[in-house]
């Protein structure tokens, strides 16, 4: 594995790791690491740095839904033109083109069930080419991006040294 991939893996796991720490872990100089990060950002390989938040543990009431969308692909642009029109809504958290019985998987988060429902009926369903939707509300999140929402309990009574 080259250092570029290794660097990305480290950042994907903890984007707060400082260039100093990253350099030490990779056995590179700090300047090299800074340069590589800048390059990766410039080339849109690194798109952003986000915190993972379990909103259920806060006072915020949020509703997340996964919506299956079926569409008629358009001549010339295929799916991309419809995708453009979907993902540009701020409400849309993720958008994937899928194989199988539907075409797009859209994730959106709203404050209430009603808000999500009205986005689907007023915004999503009315896009030209969309022929059907099915909305699934998320009841509980267990894991996202490799991070579990509950941490394992710590085993008590361990050997103290060896």
């Amino acid at each position: 594995m080259d250092t570029g991939t290794e660097l990305l893996k480290l950042l994907e796991k903890d984007c707060r790791a400082t260039p100093d720490q990253l350099a030490a872990m990779l056995g590179e100089s700090v300047e090299t690491v800074r340069g590589e990060i800048a390059e990766l950002e410039k080339n849109n390989v690194i798109l952003g740095y986000n915190a993972m938040i379990d909103w259920d543990r806060t006072g915020e009431e949020l509703v997340t839904a996964m919506i299956e969308v079926r569409v008629t692909p358009q001549r010339g642009d295929g799916f991309d033109r419809i995708a453009d029109r979907i993902y540009q809504f701020d409400e849309v958290e993720s958008l994937y083109l899928m194989s199988g019985s539907y075409d797009f998987a859209v994730t959106i988060t709203g404050r209430t069930l009603k808000e999500v429902a009205s986005f689907v009926s007023a915004r999503l369903s009315t896009i030209e080419g969309v022929i059907g939707t099915a909305t699934h509300f998320i009841l509980k999140k267990y894991k996202e991006k490799g991070v579990a929402f509950e941490t394992l309990p710590v085993q008590e009574e361990r050997m103290k040294y060896c």
Binding site: A23, A24, M25, L26, K160, Y161, C162
Partner: protein
């Protein structure tokens, strides 16, 4: 009657570990960081835990054959061939033990007559000497040096040999030094052993945690194969310490006799753990790679941070410890550890605990989270500043 009078003298003479007091102190502290325990911080990979759970659900809770389940021994044989190019017959050359520790104990008890000497390179894991004594033998410690990369040199081996030498322990990759032995190093030792009746007990529990190269087992040196007992296990490679799963691969005669001792003392290794171990060997190679890569990052980070802080630090090539030299502080390794713990609430282990040659060093285990390691290094800097006044 005082019960004490009944206890065998060789047992009362065993020294209790000198580091206990630190850890009693550690217990009373909040937000303390311990880099003292030599155990992976990862939980056992889920598919392996699941295999154990599944065997319980099925009611597989009986004893297994004394030497361990044949299906597990076959997996071990396949693994030894795949990873280290070693051929062992699952029927007669492999025994499943309760951790690597039982494997070491069995080897010594099988070999030693009263007065037999066992050559033990140090600094090394604390069990070899006491287990030798318990088996009626006499430990002969050989100090390895940082300038030799903590390897046992042929000259040192030669000098330690006597008429009474029965066995040589090779604890590589080494806890606590991180030293390893390459093919050439082992061939040179093999040359010294040639023509002598001496067994090699090769503790390879950290074999999978070798960085920047592949582990070489002494048993892969043709002239050593017939005299070597390979001790290995699942604890470090698969993060399975609590399952207590180890194994020995050795010449037939050795295994046949060790199975007898094991049969009387242990019966058979835990059945649930054996099922989990089968799964580990069948589909755990990737887990090993992932964990090794993670340890490797932490290793580099720690060596770098220690050197930045001004401590001389050998770059460990295996296991998951760094062993920096603390002589520049003017403190003994015990003083260093006690003061570091009291002042900065970080627990590390004095090198003196690992036998002759350990004084002047401390052991830090990097099987801890990056956050803890980074914080421990901040506190180390503060501590060293404090020492300078």
């Amino acid at each position: 009657m005082e019960f004490r009078e009944l206890i065998a003298e060789k047992v009362t003479a065993l020294k209790p570990s000198g580091i206990r007091k630190f850890f009693d102190l550690l217990e009373t502290m909040e937000d303390a960081i311990s880099l003292g325990v030599g155990e992976p911080d990862f939980p056992t990979p889920w598919h392996i835990r699941d295999a154990g759970v599944y065997s319980l659900e099925k009611g597989f809770t009986k004893y297994t054959p004394n030497a361990g389940m044949m299906s597990l021994r076959k997996e071990i044989a396949a693994y030894m061939l795949r990873r280290f190019g070693l051929t062992y017959d699952p029927n007669g050359q492999i025994i499943v033990t309760v951790g690597g520790s039982e494997g070491i104990d069995l080897s010594l008890r099988m070999l030693l007559e009263p007065g037999d000497e066992v050559i033990i390179p140090t600094p090394s894991f604390v069990c070899y000497g006491p287990l030798t004594v318990m088996a009626g033998g006499k430990p002969v410690y050989v100090e390895t040096k940082q300038e030799d990369d903590f390897k046992l040199t042929p000259a040192q081996l030669e000098a330690a040999l006597t008429e009474k030498t029965k066995a040589l322990v090779l604890p590589y990759p080494c806890n606590p030094t991180g030293g390893i032995m390459g093919k050439k190093d082992l061939e040179a030792l093999a040359e010294v052993l040639k023509g002598r009746s001496i067994a090699v007990i090769s503790d390879e529990i950290y074999a999978e945690l070798t960085y920047g190269g592949k582990h070489v087992s002494p048993a892969s040196i043709p002239s050593l194969y017939d005299r070597t007992i390979v001790v290995n296990g699942f604890s470090k490679a698969y993060a399975m310490t609590g399952w207590r799963m180890g194994y020995l691969c050795a010449p037939r005669d050795a295994i046949a006799q060790m199975v007898k001792i094991h049969q009387f003392g242990i019966m058979s290794a835990p059945t649930t753990s054996q099922y989990a171990a089968i799964e580990a060997m069948r589909s755990g190679d990737r887990d090993i790679m992932t964990m090794r890569a993670e340890y490797d990052r932490r290793r580099r980070f720690l060596v770098h941070a220690l050197r930045e802080a001004g401590l001389e630090c050998y770059e460990p090539r295996g296991a998951f410890y760094v062993f920096p030299c603390i002589r520049s502080t003017g403190l003994s390794s015990e003083e260093f550890c006690e003061r570091f713990l009291r002042s900065q609430r970080v627990a590390v282990i004095p090198g003196s605990a690992f036998g002759p040659g350990g004084e002047g060093f401390v052991r830090m285990c990097y099987a801890a989270s990056m956050e803890d390691l980074a914080e421990a290094m901040r506190r180390l800097k503060a501590f060293l500043d404090e020492l300078k006044g």
